[in-house]
């Protein structure tokens, strides 16, 4: 992980990845129900990086304007979740989500809404599932659609009083045959990360226990 400080051990990282995986799987499931089409979400990797690095990672990969859905969360741990798409991808997503029946103009009107809704489903499912796994409650704010770039999303302008980290995920969506790429990023401060860490460890401990005890949501 370039530019990241290893605050998670390998095992913790694996566990976190799995947790996210679970969350994303649920999100996929929810999205599927929502759009009525085949949806697959992949989680290539999870990285814990600084905000600066997160911005750089985005910049590395994207040259155009980005669209993001932003939701804050609090409870067992605090933070801000972002679902980020390059503009073109977001258009694709909207088209996919709305079933490709709308005209260009209509799509434009619908865009923000569609995005917000999609974002809500994905982020919500993801985070809620994670919280569930960690056996802790988590509340989410309303989704907000913002346009900008990495600098904006990761709040690099702000004075870094809290010294936060970013859980950075690069996701490949596949919705109804459309390949869409995006990123999920969770901004957390260090105390929150610590809290998350201990929860992860609890989870690990639980898992070591007898097999097959399912904790279904």
């Amino acid at each position: 992980m370039s530019g990241a400080f290893t605050i998670l051990s390998e095992l913790e990282h694996d566990a976190l990845t799995e947790l996210v995986n679970i969350g994303v799987s649920r999100a996929a499931s929810s999205l599927r129900k929502m759009v009525g089409q085949h949806v697959t979400l992949s989680v290539p990797s999870v990285e814990v990086v600084t905000r600066k690095t997160a911005a750089a990672l985005i910049r590395e990969r994207e040259s155009e304007l980005l669209v993001a859905v932003r939701q804050d969360f609090e409870g067992a741990f605090f933070g801000r979740a972002l679902l980020i798409f390059p503009l073109a991808s977001s258009v694709e997503l909207v088209r996919a989500v709305t079933g490709d029946v709308l005209s260009a103009d209509e799509m434009k009107e619908m865009e923000s809404e569609a995005l917000a809704e999609t974002g809500n489903v994905v982020i919500n499912s993801c985070l809620a599932t994670m919280a569930n796994m960690l056996q802790k409650p988590l509340t989410m704010s309303l989704p907000q659609v913002i346009r900008g770039d990495g600098r904006l999303f990761f709040e690099l302008e702000e004075m870094d009083t809290r010294g936060g980290v970013v859980l950075f995920l690069y996701i490949n969506f596949s919705v109804g045959g459309w390949d869409i790429r995006g990123y999920i990023a969770m901004l957390m401060d260090l105390p929150s990360l610590d809290a998350l860490k201990s929860l992860i460890n609890e989870f690990i401990q639980r898992v070591i226990g007898p097999e097959g005890q399912s904790n279904e949501a």
Binding site: M1, S25, L57, N172, I204, E211, G212
Partner: protein, 768 residues
């Protein structure tokens, strides 16, 4: 999800498994059991679910637990790699793939999958990874149309991207400069088969460093739906590029330096006045310097490609060919002069140096036309000079000759007159006598005319064998006339004198010249002796005393009793233009001409003079060897080896001669003391040193040899004395001052001769 094609699945032997969630059991097929090291039957029937994790390598177990837990909690697919113990104690790598089917409530109704032994693949991957790291190579795989590229860890590290398995295509191409073609996915990649090798200049996004990356790859049509798939490698060539640059600049400077050197050499080639050329063994001119055009007038393309022989003067073709043969044999020519024809029809003399290297012959020629012309001019001038010398001498003689001629004519006219009168008187009795007298006179006149004509004839040196005696005799007449009344002439001809090689005209001229000099040195009259004798110059004497070639010579001495010359004058006598005569009288060229002609005909000249007593000029003419006569091997006069170490005092002012004598004596076993003049000699004589023999030159500066001997005899009455003189044996100047125990030897003498005389004298003394 890890990319694993169907073919992979089939190729490796897969084990099947099923996880019964409700009953928490795990079952599998034979292969699965084998991989896990379980009993086949038991596995088929079902084992506790925990069995899946039990034998997993400790380092991998947690991960797998978590992954399975993930599935239990909603993740649809399982895909993980882990290690299982193998029978031989090592570990094998396996990959588990599974899918969980859920009902509408999200409950798992089925969770099953495959287990694959990927040990080999792992090893290959490991090797690949190591190879990539070690080789600095990163791999990539790209399906056209996709937004991402599958890359290796090394690839990311090399480009400076965050290490992931999948990288956005855009991210990869973003490291290139704006005007650069893409690293992946560009027009290049539209061709099948091997992709062209390309180099890219990148800026690493992580460090900002500029690097050079090379890419190689292949395009295959085996992607999804049979579409194009591009696989390739990248490697960092920054260091290599740096070396390349260095090399280039080095080469450039080298090229510059070579160019500079070449320019320098070119300057020489272009500006030298001498002709330079490169020829191949066949004589074809491959390259000629610009001076060829300056000297001979041809343009380079009129010469290059043609054989050098085409430019050689026809008269020199033979020698040229011979010289070429020598070059091919391995010899380097130096100073080989031949004429080359010029474009305008003229000819130039060129003196050649050659050097052969392999197949090429490098030639260097100097235009010596001027030099030769000058040499010829000089030679011609010399001839003219000789001629004018002759003329001068002739002029000197003309007075006397005219007088004689007149007399002869008078004899003829007188005789005829008398005859006329007698016939008129009718007295016919003595007519015969008068007629004879007239004829004789006429003949003598004719003879004289002939002589004069022969004398004045311009001829180049023509040395041939001649009879010296006859020549001297024939000059008798002329000499008498030249010398006048006051000088007594004596010509001594030894009948045994050898035939000598010389130019008769020059010799006559020389003798005449010397006679005139002698006459001028004796204003009050005196004696002139001309004699010829055989001499042999041995190695020592010839080379050191005379700077001549050893051998047999006929020596002609012209000796006078004139005022003589001091040592300094003697040393300059042969120099051109050196004269002691006042201005107007003589050119000062006489002796130098004599010296010159003698040297040119293989002879030599020498002067021996005693101021106040006289001078002898000696001409050495090489002995003519008759073809019929076998070369005479002259037995060396055996030197008597005294061995007794007698002390001999040598007094001689001529350094070279003195040293000769001293060395000869030393070799003969004597002890030699030496002095260069009378005073030095007396030092030895007056000392207590025993001296057995005194050898002294007669003509010494200061105290002469005779005087030295006299003084010596005062204190050493029995001291034997051997005088050395430059005069010929018959010279009247040879004084009759030889007392008993005194002898004389003439220069030049062979060392053997000296040794014999010394030995004899010492033997006599011992047994008086």
């Amino acid at each position: 999800m890890t990319r694993m094609s169907v073919s992979d699945l089939l190729a490796s032997s897969v084990g099947l498994w099923r996880w019964d969630v409700r009953h928490q059991t795990l079952s599998g097929d034979g292969r699965f059991a084998e991989l896990y090291g379980l009993d086949r039957l038991d596995t088929a029937n079902g084992l506790p679910a925990e069995t899946l994790f039990a034998s997993i390598h400790p380092e991998d177990r947690m991960r797998i637990r978590i992954a399975v837990a993930g599935v239990m909690h909603g993740v649809e697919t399982l895909s993980r790699e882990y290690r299982l113990p193998a029978r031989d104690g090592s570990f094998r790598w396996v990959m588990i793939n599974g899918r969980a089917e859920r009902n509408g409530d999200g409950e798992i109704i089925q969770f099953e999958g495959v287990l694959t032994d990927i040990t080999d693949r792992k090893r290959v991957e490991e090797r690949l990874r190591v190879a990539q790291v070690a080789g600095g190579v990163g791999t990539f795989e790209y399906i056209q149309g996709f937004g991402t590229v599958s890359v290796s860890e090394q690839f990311c590290r090399m480009i400076g991207l965050t290490v992931t398995d999948e990288v956005a295509l855009r991210a990869i191409n973003a490291v290139l400069p704006p005007d650069s073609p893409p690293l992946i996915g560009g027009a290049d990649d539209k061709v099948d088969g091997e992709l062209p090798y390309r180099e890219f200049h990148i800026v690493r996004p992580d460090t900002g460093e500029r690097r050079w990356i090379a890419r190689r790859g292949e395009r295959r049509m085996d992607g999804p739906d049979g579409g194009p798939r591009i696989i390739g490698v990248v490697f960092d060539i920054t260091a290599f590029k740096a070396v390349e640059d260095q090399l280039r600049s080095l080469t450039d400077t080298l090229q510059q330096r070579v160019a500079e050197q070449t320019r320098n050499r070119d300057r020489v080639w272009n500006n030298a006045l001498d002709l330079m050329s490169v020829t191949t063994e066949d004589g074809v001119l491959r390259s000629v310097s610009p001076s060829w055009t300056t000297v001979l007038g041809y343009l380079p393309d009129e010469m290059e490609g043609r054989n050098y022989i085409e430019f050689v003067d026809p008269e020199h073709l033979e020698v040229s060919r011979a010289a070429m043969a020598e070059i091919l044999d391995g010899a380097d020519l130096d100073g080989f002069e031949i004429q080359f024809r010029c474009k305008d029809g003229g000819a130039r003399w060129i003196s050649w140096r050659t050097h052969r290297e392999g197949e090429l012959i490098y030639s260097y020629g100097r235009d010596v036309t001027e030099e030769r012309a000058r040499a010829e001019e000089l030679s011609a001038a010399e001839d003219k000079l000789r001629q004018s010398q002759k003329m001068e001498a002739l002029g000197q003689l003309t007075g006397g000759i005219a007088h004689d001629f007149n007399n002869m004519l008078t004899g003829v006219i007188g005789g005829l007159d008398l005859i006329q009168r007698r016939i008129g008187e009718g007295r016919l009795a003595d007519l015969d006598r008068y007629m004879q007298a007239a004829v004789t006179s006429a003949q003598r006149a004719a003879g004289l005319t002939q002589r004069l004509l022969a004398f004045s004839r311009q001829q180049s040196l023509d040395p041939r064998p001649l009879d010296v005696n006859r020549l001297l005799k024939s000059l008798d007449d002329l000499l008498s006339r030249t010398l006048g009344e006051q000088v007594r002439l004596k010509v001594v001809a030894d009948p045994d004198v050898w035939q000598a090689v010389s130019d008769s005209n020059q010799l006559e001229s020389a003798i005449l010249n010397l006679a005139i000099n002698a006459r001028d040195a004796m204003p009050g009259g005196g004696q002139l002796i001309i004699e010829a004798r055989n001499v042999t110059l041995d190695e020592a004497y010839a080379t050191r005393a005379l700077d001549a070639t050893p051998g047999d010579y006929v020596e002609i001495c012209v000796t006078d009793t004139g005022h003589g010359m001091d040592a300094k004058t003697v040393s300059k006598a042969f120099e051109p233009f050196f004269t002691t005569k006042p201005i107007g009288q003589g050119t000062g060229l006489g002796l130098s001409m004599i010296y010159g002609f003698l040297r040119q005909t293989g002879g030599h000249a020498g002067i021996y003079s005693v101021p106040g007593e006289g001078t002898t000029v000696k001409m050495y003419l090489p002995r003519a060897i008759e073809p019929a006569e076998p070369a005479q091997v002259r037995p060396e006069q055996q030197a008597h080896r005294a061995g007794a170490g007698e002390t001999v005092l040598v007094v001689e002012d001529e350094d070279s001669v003195r040293m000769l004598i001293v060395e000869a004596l030393a070799e003969l076993g004597y002890r030699a003391l030496q002095a260069s003049n009378g005073d030095g000699a007396l030092v030895h004589i007056k000392s207590q040193t025993p001296i057995e023999l005194l050898i002294t030159d007669v003509g010494l500066p200061g105290l002469n040899g005779r005087q030295v001997a006299e003084i010596a005899r005062k204190t050493r009455p029995d001291l034997p004395v051997l005088f050395v003189t430059g005069y010929a044996p018959n010279a009247a100047v040879r004084a009759n001052f030889l007392d008993p125990g005194m002898e004389m030897i003439s220069k030049p003498f062979a060392m053997g001769e000296l040794g014999a005389r010394v030995g004899a004298m010492l033997a006599e003394r011992r047994a008086p």
